[in-house]
């Protein structure tokens, strides 16, 4: 189908009206030597040939069908029940965008409403929006919301050093030009409890990540102290979480969080070479007016039947415009739908089981690796599905050797923490079988010396 449906006669008429002879004349502002470059493309090939070529290229990838993988650091491999893809692929749902018209979008709106409900239940919050781009941008939106809750009078943001380094960068990118003081994360291995001392009457919010970037689970006592410290100073407590961990861990709402954000990719989305991912965002109801993005609400139609609408959608685009606190209106509708289907499929007990499997397999792996000569655990704190291992050789070399053995190793911690070039952070989830873990341990032993 031709996308622009016009005839030769119509084209001639349009050119005549705007006073040019031919379409090429419209490009005369482009310098002549760049105007119609010779692309020097290879000769055309048949469909069979091009498929062969592309398959050959794709097989150069170290993909997860052929390699074992113990890499996490913010992107996680979990088992995705096949029903997730099946529902996502239905044509009624297959759009990445939020539907505007309730008259024709009840199914999608209901799915987003259910997604929001499940995110609230997981995080212990009262309201959730229809999602953001990813975990990092959701955290940046939390900062902007906290600034607006403080009516832009507080200019300080305290970031835990153990927040994902990329998230901390995105927060700085989003807020550049706002003259903020962002403190607390100078030393990525710094102490969480010490953040209390940085909180003052200028502080709009304090943000922590649970489990933290290094996989560690801070104690509830420390988290509550931080919540009390920032609340005492009149600021907000923001927590970024791994949603899978909430199958086991206390919801942030129970230890004082005002806003909970996180990366939702683990909920039913594949690694996808880095995206699209899913930022979830939930908060206490008293702040809902300052929340960015969309919110689907349940209502009744003229005949009293249950229905769903975009409750706060109009705020940025149609009503508040330049007075809006954020101009982010898009969401990850399709990935959010995937998360809703994933959570509904697993149910309460299923999610707990996945979290338990991650926890136990990761601990089995950590215990076995730590027993190898030359290897030791960097931290002695409780952890969830990731842990940092000090290696007998530089982490990069270990990873290269592992790759030769068909194993994608851990995250090279030295990339974000100077001085820890001999450290690898491994991630173990329910998809890593005991046999896979044993294979990793054997390989590490082999490449360690």
């Amino acid at each position: 189908m031709t996308y622009v449906l016009n005839t030769e006669r119509e084209r001639r008429e349009m050119l005549r009206r705007i006073g040019v002879e031919k379409v090429e004349d419209l490009f005369q502002d482009v310098p002549a030597e760049h105007r119609f470059p010779d692309l020097e493309l290879p000769p055309p090939v048949s469909e069979v040939e091009i498929l062969q070529e592309l398959r050959f290229l794709s097989e150069q990838n170290a993909d997860l069908d052929h390699y074992l993988c113990f890499l996490g650091a913010g992107a996680y491999r979990h088992y995705i029940p096949s029903v997730v893809d099946h529902i996502l692929s239905r044509s009624e749902f297959y759009t990445a965008y939020t539907p505007y018209q309730p008259e024709i979008s009840q199914g999608t709106l209901q799915a987003i409403f259910e997604y929001q409900t499940m995110i609230c239940e997981l995080t212990g919050m009262e309201v959730s929006n229809a999602s953001h781009y990813d975990g990092a941008t959701a955290m940046a939106e939390a900062v902007i919301m906290a600034l607006n809750v403080a009516r832009l009078k507080r200019k300080k943001v305290v970031l835990a050093p153990s927040i994902h380094p990329e998230y901390r960068e995105v927060v700085r990118t989003y807020t550049q030009g706002m003259n903020l003081t962002i403190v607390g994360d100078e030393d990525p291995r710094g102490d969480l409890a010490a953040l209390k001392g940085l909180v003052d009457g200028e502080t709009a919010c304090l943000i922590v990540q649970v489990p933290d970037f290094f996989g560690r689970i801070p104690s509830l006592a420390v988290l509550r102290e931080l919540a009390d410290a920032v609340h005492g100073a009149g600021g907000l407590f923001v927590v970024s979480v791994d949603p899978i961990s909430l199958g086991l861990l206390t919801p942030p709402g129970e230890y004082g969080a005002d806003i909970v954000t996180g990366e939702g990719q683990a909920l039913g989305a594949p690694l996808n070479f880095g995206g699209p991912y899913l930022g979830f965002f939930a908060c206490r109801e008293e702040y809902v007016r300052r929340m960015a993005g969309r919110l689907v609400g349940q209502t009744v139609d003229a005949e009293g039947r249950r229905g769903f609408v975009l409750t706060l959608s109009t705020r940025e685009q149609h009503i508040r415009r330049e007075k809006a606190t954020s101009n982010i209106c898009t969401n990850q509708g399709l990935v959010a739908l995937g998360a809703a289907v994933y959570l509904a499929t697993l149910g309460k007990h299923g999610l707990r089981r996945v979290a338990e499997l991650c926890y136990h397999r990761a601990h089995y792996a950590a215990q076995r690796i730590a027993a190898l000569p030359g290897y030791s655990l960097l931290d002695d704190q409780p952890f969830f599905k990731e842990f940092v291992v000090r290696c007998p050789r530089p982490a990069r070399e270990i990873n290269e050797d592992l790759l030769d053995l068909g194993i994608i190793g851990g995250f090279e911690v030295g990339n974000v923490c100077p001085g820890l070039d001999d450290c690898l952070m491994f991630c173990v989830t329910e998809v890593n079988s005991r046999d896979e873990i044993d294979e990793l341990v054997e390989a590490l032993e082999e490449v360690g010396s």
Partner: protein, 135 residues
């Protein structure tokens, strides 16, 4: 459509009213303003203790049609805001000069009232604005 005007208030060209009683004052938006905005869904009120000069933005009123800034009729320090608007913003539509008040404040200089319109002048001003098709 007729415009109601309260005889005890003075008015701004941006359609706010102010009523002074002794050394305190109340302010809100006029009947004309609420008619133009249509259904009001949210009023963002200032913090108690904050101070604003004359013509400074002290509130934002959001309706199903638009969000508009509200300007201080005369300068002063906020003593109280109308908490009832949080759950019932429609009070502004129903009773703009009464239950739909926005703020109670302590004026800094009552001389600033001289720049405002009296009820008769405002009624004429608003009627003309309405005949021009609103704004």
């Amino acid at each position: 459509m007729s415009i109601k005007v309260d005889p005890t208030c003075r008015y701004t060209e941006t359609h706010e009213w102010v009523r002074v009683e002794g050394d305190v004052a109340w302010a809100g938006i006029t009947d004309y303003a609420q008619q133009q905005l249509s259904d009001i869904v949210y009023v963002e009120l200032p913090e108690v203790g904050a101070s604003f000069g004359q013509k400074e933005v002290f509130a934002v009123v959001e309706s199903v049609k638009a969000a508009s800034d509200c300007y201080m009729p005369i300068g002063g320090e906020i003593l109280e805001t109308n908490g009832a608007l949080e759950d019932a913003p429609e009070l502004v539509n129903q009773d703009p000069y009464g239950k739909g008040w926005f703020i109670k404040f302590r004026p800094t200089d009552l001389g600033e009232l001289d720049a405002l319109m009296d009820p008769a002048a405002y009624e004429k001003f608003a009627q003309e604005a309405l005949e021009k098709g609103g704004h």
